[in-house]
């Protein structure tokens, strides 16, 4: 059936038409819409009127669809974690440039050998006499505190939105994984092996194309149990952890609440591998 209904019972009402469009199960209908039918029945007077009516239906459906997509629980978390990573880049870039600037105006200054922490260094510059340099340093400091707050926000949101994954690898890493996968529902359809190399795409493709060694871990390397693990078991650990993450992700996507038994079980298994390596 077409969006405007059947002969004798034509209707242009957007809501009813949307329901008819959704009911359709035939991917290749024999009879497509024909605006001449409606004209003959006197429902529309012109081609323009037909187009206006069909647009009303499609725009109605689009608005509904977009509202639904935007109300997905992970949408905002993804934007937050992307903003966080972007902030990191900006802060590093500005800090580097400010260091160069400061060194070029201060003959005796060098960050070599002193290993001054970058935050301490920025605080020193913030007291400098050069007014522009001073205000740049202050901006960086305020960006840094903004970043800290945002990071806490991301962790808190992740604990609520993706509780099982957060329990396994912490909110921040879990949120980054979802961000790289695209969305929670996309990630829930991924096998563990894909999750294992999320974030290591260039290494993966160079492995597929040129036969270089395959990547053992992508973003999950940021989780402490992976990067603290002894080299020999790191690959194994990454594999097991990502398999558990795949399960956790599906729990988060389709059940949406913390499964303590599963998390305890998974953590025990991962810790056992850690111990075996030591």
């Amino acid at each position: 059936m077409n969006w405007y209904g059947e002969s004798g019972a034509y209707s242009l009402d957007a809501e009813a038409a949307a329901a008819r469009v959704r009911q359709n199960t035939n991917p290749a209908p024999k009879k497509l819409c024909d605006w001449k039918e409606l004209e003959a029945a006197g429902v529309v007077k012109s081609r323009g009127e037909y187009l206006a009516a069909v647009r009303e239906v499609s725009v109605f459906m689009a608005n509904e669809g977009i509202a639904k997509a935007l109300s997905e629980k992970d949408t905002e978390m993804l934007q937050m974690v992307r903003m966080l990573d972007e902030l990191d880049d900006v802060i590093n870039l500005l800090t580097e440039r400010l260091t160069e600037w400061h060194q070029s105006t201060t003959p005796g200054s060098s960050r070599k050998y002193t290993r001054a922490a970058s935050k301490k260094f920025i605080q020193t510059v913030a007291k400098s006499k050069n007014p522009s340099m001073k205000s740049v340093a202050r901006e960086i400091l305020s960006l840094t505190s903004l970043r800290t707050n945002l990071m806490k926000d991301v962790s808190r949101t992740a604990d609520a939105v993706i509780p099982n994954m957060s329990a396994l690898v912490g909110g921040l890493v879990a949120a980054r994984l979802v961000s790289r996968a695209g969305s929670l529902s996309l990630m829930a359809k991924m096998p563990g092996s894909s999750i294992q190399v999320l974030g290591a795409e260039s290494a993966l493709f160079s492995h597929i194309r040129a036969g270089t060694p395959s990547p053992k871990h992508g973003l999950i390397f940021q989780h402490r149990r992976v990067h603290n693990a002894p080299r020999e078991v790191r690959g194994k650990l990454a594999r097991v952890l990502s398999a558990k993450l795949a399960i956790a992700c599906r729990l988060d996507a389709y059940r949406g609440e913390l499964d303590e038994a599963f998390v305890a079980d998974a953590n025990a298994k991962i810790d056992k591998i850690m111990e075996a390596g030591e």
């Binding site: 969006w3 469009v21 959704r22 497509l32 819409c33 647009r55 689009a62 669809g65």
Partner: protein, 199 residues
């Protein structure tokens, strides 16, 4: 299609995406739009005033807005929510665009909205681009034209673009289409080919 000097333009209200204007017409940039690139490389591409176009992969509606300047109606399908918001904004100003929020791999979701099209245009980043074209053939008139903007890198990164091109052409021909020409869109779009066919 209309050109001023050697520049492709379309007639319509400007300011859709900050495009340049030339003598009151909108300049259609080949580096931003594959259909424009195709015109620069092969002048036989044409859009007629009474055409109905089924456009898969409408994205933000940049190319769609130009197509809409030329033809009678465009059914524009896009499945990502963010670009769809932009497409809706574009279609609010152009009354001959029907914006459809749907997944081109599942035409049944919006089949009941469509009417027979003169031109089926596709620009989607999916591995099964030829298959998506074939699934939409029921919506194309007999003798209608198919313009497939083949993104070879989305089909298979391990094969060379030429291999992907040959395989896609074979797949389309097996479905009963006649491939009229294949145009590589260098230098405007790297590893993209336009395949023009007839039903």
């Amino acid at each position: 299609m209309k050109s001023i000097g050697k520049t492709l333009v379309s007639e319509g209200a400007g300011g859709v995406y900050g495009e340049r204007m030339l003598e009151g017409c909108r300049v259609w940039d080949p580096y931003r739009s594959k259909l424009s690139a195709l015109w620069y490389l092969d002048k036989s591409t044409d859009l007629k005033a009474d055409d109905v176009v089924l456009y898969l992969g409408a994205a933000n509606g940049t190319t769609v807005s130009h197509v809409a300047d030329y033809v009678e109606a465009v059914y524009a399908v896009e499945f990502a929510p963010r670009p769809m918001q932009d497409l809706l904004a574009v279609s609010a100003r152009r009354k001959n665009i029907v914006p459809i929020f749907g997944d081109a791999t599942r035409p049944k979701e919006y089949a009941a909205l469509l009417e027979p099209a003169d031109i089926l245009y596709q620009d989607v980043a999916q591995p099964n681009q030829a298959e998506i074209i074939i699934r939409h053939l029921p919506f194309l008139k007999k003798g209608g034209q198919v313009i497939l903007m083949l993104k070879t890198r989305s089909v298979d990164i391990r094969k060379t673009p030429e291999e992907v091109f040959a395989e896609s052409c074979a797949e389309i021909e097996a479905a009963g289409l006649t491939v009229e020409k294949g145009v590589w869109l260098n230098p405007y779009h790297i590893d993209h080919a336009a395949i023009v066919c007839r039903k």
